[in-house]
């Protein structure tokens, strides 16, 4: 490594998974990196909090497609599998349908066929075809996930046009799945993953059938200690590589000289930088850090027209005793799922029979709770913040409703067992976590907000500013957030005329090596 004092300096605003990965990649490439984080800890929402001996992840709890992070670790000279204790989950999760029936998802394809057969024998026959087709789809689309979309010209490159029939932008996830599965419950089993992006399967582009495919192809993992262990490992690497991390120090403004960013200002002073990487909720960060008049494409009135993904009503419960019969991940699917999605995305009201997700992680990872106790993480997708819902008033009512609904997945008699409890409402996501309108997945992944139409990895409105995280291309979800760090870091290094060390090994061979 070169002498850091002589190197160029990069400021990273935000220590979420994207910011940490970018910091690790850029410092490994020889740049001097400083991370400024608003909150007193690193990891963003991919981090833990501990209370009463219980440990919870704030945000992501599913970790799939570890190949991206592993390939980043390898280019840093580390091995993800040694840094983090990853347990492959099998079965993946259990789906409980409000309308009746259950489906236990597993990447053992014969067993999965049998599980689908129990719901709909005809649909089970189409599983192989679904997997074959999606393997092909991912193979064709992967190059686009791994490159940047800098202008509309990038989207009319012949390569992308040639795969239009594969991407089928005119079809929704649900309609694409109708090609394979007749039973709406089976379609949901392969489309609810759009909620990882905060979207309804009825509106999410058909491309995202690859989300469920990735689970069956590459599995779902639990990092011991929670997904916070992933960011903790990245943090360790950053510190080893000399990254300076200032927690509790929010960036207030990006300093510009003409159209070029030259540093940032925080409450403690000004920092000069050759480049600035933003790893924060895009709408919130941009409207705070860059004055409206300095923006062209992303002015406030334009931001206001963008479609936001949903928010989440969260319950973090520390319990006496354990629910050993409830698996690691369980999803309850509303009896009228279409209505539930409509309530969230269009009508902006609270459903009486909402879908929800429960993680009972102690069945896999007892380290998260004291002996004889367990944690329960409950996520209810709800509309992003609107004036129609006053969460101060709704909060107690919705808590009771959800605690009652837990019986549907076998979590009965819960009130008497609650020892610790924390609730995060959309209002709290907005104010405490600085997520615009509490939208936990940022800009929706519609075609009008994807590829070059998403905030670009190289920020359009200012030179020397780059974006990483779920707000930019390719989108939200841990694997693609890590990919965004790699894409933006590559652009930044090239713009500064630096080597991109990890490109000197073929990325294909890296992925193939671990797949």
């Amino acid at each position: 490594m070169r002498n850091k004092a002589l190197s160029r300096h990069v400021i990273i605003a935000g220590a979420g998974p994207g910011g940490l990965a970018a910091a690790a990649l850029l410092s490994h490439a020889g740049l001097r990196v400083t991370i400024l984080e608003r909150r007193p800890y690193v990891g963003g929402r991919t981090s833990n909090f501990t209370a009463g001996g219980f440990r919870f992840d704030y945000g992501p709890t599913f970790f799939h497609y570890p190949q991206v992070l592993q390939s980043i670790f390898q280019s840093l000279g580390h091995d993800l599998w040694k840094e983090v204790d990853l347990i492959r989950l099998d079965p993946h999760y259990r789906l409980v349908f409000g309308g009746g029936g259950e489906l236990v998802s597993t990447s053992n394809i014969r067993a999965m066929e049998a599980a689908v057969r129990k719901i709909n024998p005809e649909d089970a026959r189409h599983l192989s075809r679904f997997l074959l087709d999606n393997r092909e789809k991912l193979r064709k689309f992967r190059p686009f996930l791994e490159t940047s979309f800098d202008s509309w010209r990038d989207t009319i490159q012949p390569r992308l046009l040639s795969i239009l029939p594969v991407l089928k932008p005119w079809r929704s996830l649900d309609s694409e799945l109708s090609r394979y599965f007749s039973d709406p419950r089976v379609r949901l089993a392969f489309s609810f993953q759009s909620k990882y992006l905060g979207m309804s399967p009825f509106e999410c582009p058909s491309l995202f059938t690859i989300l469920s495919f990735l689970e069956y192809e590459y599995g779902i993992y639990h990092p011991v200690g929670g997904c916070g262990s992933l960011t903790a490992a990245l943090n360790r690497i950053c510190v080893q590589q000399g990254v300076v991390i200032h927690a509790d120090e929010p960036v207030e403004e990006i300093l510009v000289n003409g159209r070029k960013a030259v540093g940032v200002r925080t409450a403690r002073g000004e920092y000069k930088a050759d480049a600035v990487v933003i790893n924060a909720d895009f709408a919130r960060a941009i409207s705070r850090m860059v004055p409206n008049r300095a923006r062209r494409r992303w002015q406030d009135h334009k931001l206001a027209t963008k479609t936001l993904s949903c928010s989440a009503f969260m319950l973090y419960l520390g319990l006496r005793g354990t629910y050993d019969r409830v698996g690691h991940h369980t999803l309850y699917i509303s009896k009228d799922y279409a209505r539930n999605m409509d309530d969230i995305g269009h009508r902006h009201v609270l459903s009486d029979d909402p879908s929800f997700y429960v993680q009972n992680a102690c069945v896999t990872d007892p380290s998260l709770a004291p002996p004889g106790k367990s944690t329960l993480y409950v996520l209810v997708p709800v509309t992003h913040q609107t004036r129609a819902i006053d969460w101060n008033r709704e909060r107690p009512r919705y808590r009771e409703l959800i605690l009652d609904k837990l019986a549907a997945i076998g979590v009965t008699d819960i009130r008497s067992r609650i020892e610790y409890e924390r609730i995060i409402t959309p209002a709290a996501w907005d104010t405490e976590f600085n997520l615009h309108q509490g939208s936990v997945f940022g800009l929706a992944h519609t075609w009008s907000q994807m590829l070059h139409l998403r905030p670009r990895n190289r920020f359009e409105d200012l030179d020397s500013v780059y974006l990483v995280g779920g707000s930019t291309h390719p989108g939200s979800g841990l694997p693609v957030i890590f990919e965004s760090a790699r894409i933006s870091s590559r652009l930044l290094l090239k713009d500064l005329g630096e080597r991109v060390p990890w490109d000197e090994r073929s990325p294909e061979s890296v992925v193939a090596g671990v797949a």
């Binding site: 024998p121 005809e122 026959r125 189409h126 192989s128 075809r129 074959l132 393997r135 239009l164 029939p165 089928k168 932008p169 005119w170 079809r171 929704s172 309609s175 109708s178 090609r179 007749s182 039973d183 009825f202 279409a338 409509d342 269009h346």
Partner: protein
């Protein structure tokens, strides 16, 4: 992209109707051109003097394909069609007067075999398992995608997929249907019964590849069904769905030509000389004749260069209104020839009539009294014959063959007074079928499934050299028989949709409207 975004479908047989429904459900604008005055192709109905006959197919297996087509449009089949299960599925009569019922229920089948030929119990179970496995392989590699040969199969999967290689090794590529059956089944009569499963596709068990044994499991797993109103209720249901989805039908409109520009389809020319511009064409007409007569030129040359396709068998169909019922008959009956080898050799090798033919009989009145006046029967008889040869003069042959058939039924099925019971009679010979349906050499079942390696393959549902041409029907992949033909329409439509033939903005707009309406 063309300016006219309509998809044209040539022929309103079950394959064409299926493609029309799937395309319309996915937001396409669809026009169907039918040369005849009725819609539904061979699934036609003959209704006269108080009798009602399905003129074409009578045995419905594998109804899940129909359900899937309706599910595309978010409709429930049961609101369009009432299906009743038939058990026993078939009744079989042998030359030596013995009788065997084919049951879908495994317990009932075991009990039947224990009485009939106890030695075959184990073999029958082995055959059932093999058939289930071949069905699973078909599902993975042949069904629901456009495939024209072994190469497409490998491209659909990945060549290096180990499970594919394992499946290929299990396809029993070196065996015929007859051999696969006789490896497990020693009793010649039970073997003859199972042979006739490939009669659904009009091919010889001695020439068809063993993969077609999958039909056994397709029938066993989903059963045999009678649609209330007869087979005719199936095209009626599809036509109703298609109309609800905005499909337009043009009857009495034969198509003379498919027009092309460069390597793309541009439209069709009707027999009245009208040119109709189209974004794409799904031909539900016989595939060989479509290339020969509607396209010609280099596309036909390329199609013929690849492989020579042989017509499947033809048949004689009798529609008899009877003054009495035969209580010994079930809904579906086979009266078997004395020697299957002799019979198949005549029909499929020598191209001549079988002296002692197998007769299929359908007597639906016990399931559905509305087919005939009280205590009467609408008897349907089908006897397979070779496809039309130049020297077959059916005007001469028919009266003699009718007599042969009646004698066979009297001898093996105890129907001695058949002649005197007839009060209504119509028939179709291979020559009639050829004229009436525009098929290849009078073949009822499109293209024969002959050849251990190639027999499983028909022309693919798309043409790699001609953008905008799709094939559906019994002479296209995956082949003849009602479920396969319905599937062929789905595949043709799905492939068209996958190929992004039509300006998708228009489709997206229509879809969006429908979703908005639905929510």
């Amino acid at each position: 992209m063309t300016t006219d975004q309509t998809i044209g479908i040539i022929g309103s047989g079950l394959g064409g109707l299926s493609a029309a429904c799937v395309l319309a459900a996915r937001g396409y604008r669809v026009s169907v051109f039918e040369k005849s005055s009725w819609l539904g192709g061979k699934a036609a109905v003959l209704e006269e003097e108080g009798y009602r006959f399905d003129m074409g197919p009578t045995i419905l297996i594998y109804p899940s394909v129909l359900r899937k087509i309706f599910a595309e449009a978010r409709r429930d089949l049961s609101n369009y069609l009432q299906l009743e299960p038939l058990e026993p599925q078939w009744r079989c009569f042998f030359e030596n007067q013995s009788r065997l019922d084919l049951f879908g229920d495994p317990g009932a089948m075991q009990a039947e075999l224990r009485k009939f030929a106890p030695d075959t119990l184990d073999g029958y179970e082995r055959f059932s398992e093999a058939s289930a496995e071949l069905h699973a392989i078909s599902n993975r590699f042949f069904f629901w995608r456009s495939i024209g040969g072994m190469r497409d199969t490998f491209q659909a999967g990945s060549m290096f997929d180990l499970s594919l290689l394992r499946d290929v090794s299990r396809m029993k590529l070196t065996q015929t249907v007859a051999q696969a059956i006789r490896r497990d089944i020693k009793d010649p009569r039970v073997a003859q019964m199972l042979d006739h499963l490939v009669q659904y596709v009009g091919s010889s068990p001695e020439k068809a590849p063993a993969i077609l044994c999958a039909i056994g499991h397709m029938q066993a797993s989903e059963g045999v069904w009678y649609p209330r109103g007869g087979t005719r209720a199936i095209p009626e249901a599809l036509i109703r769905l298609a109309r609800e989805l905005g499909v337009r039908f043009f009857r009495n409109t034969p198509i003379d030509r498919i027009t092309t520009a460069g390597d793309s389809v541009t439209g069709v020319i009707t027999s009245r000389g009208e040119h109709i511009p189209l974004a794409a064409v799904v031909a539900n007409s016989d595939s060989v004749r479509t290339y020969r007569e509607l396209l010609g030129g280099k596309f036909a040359k390329e199609f013929n260069r690849k492989r020579k396709y042989e017509p499947a068998c033809s048949g004689v169909v009798l529609y008899l209104g009877l003054k009495r019922r035969y209580e010994q008959l079930a809904h579906h009956n086979f009266v078997f020839s004395r020697d299957p080898s002799e019979e198949f050799n005549a029909i499929y090798d020598r191209g001549e009539l079988a002296h002692d033919p197998t007769c299929y009989l359908c007597t639906p009145s016990s399931t559905d009294p509305s087919v005939a006046p009280p205590d009467r029967e609408a008897l349907y008889i089908l006897v397979h014959t070779p496809y039309l040869r130049p020297h077959h003069d059916w005007k001469q042959i028919y009266p003699f063959y009718r007599k042969t058939i009646f004698e066979k039924l009297a001898r093996a099925a105890g129907m001695r007074d058949l002649e005197s019971a007839i009060e209504f009679e119509r028939f179709l010979t291979p020559a009639d079928i050829h004229r009436r349906y525009g098929v290849l050499n009078g073949a009822i079942y499109g293209i024969a499934s002959h050849g251990r390696l190639q027999g499983g393959f028909k022309p693919a549902n798309h043409d790699p050299n001609l953008r905008g041409l799709y094939l559906a029907g019994g002479a296209a992949h995956p082949g003849p028989g009602m479920p396969m033909v319905l599937m062929s329409g789905w595949i043709a439509a799905d492939r068209l949709d996958q190929d992004a033939i039509v300006d998708y903005a228009a489709i997206a707009e229509r879809r969006y409207q429908e979703t908005a309406d639905a929510v």
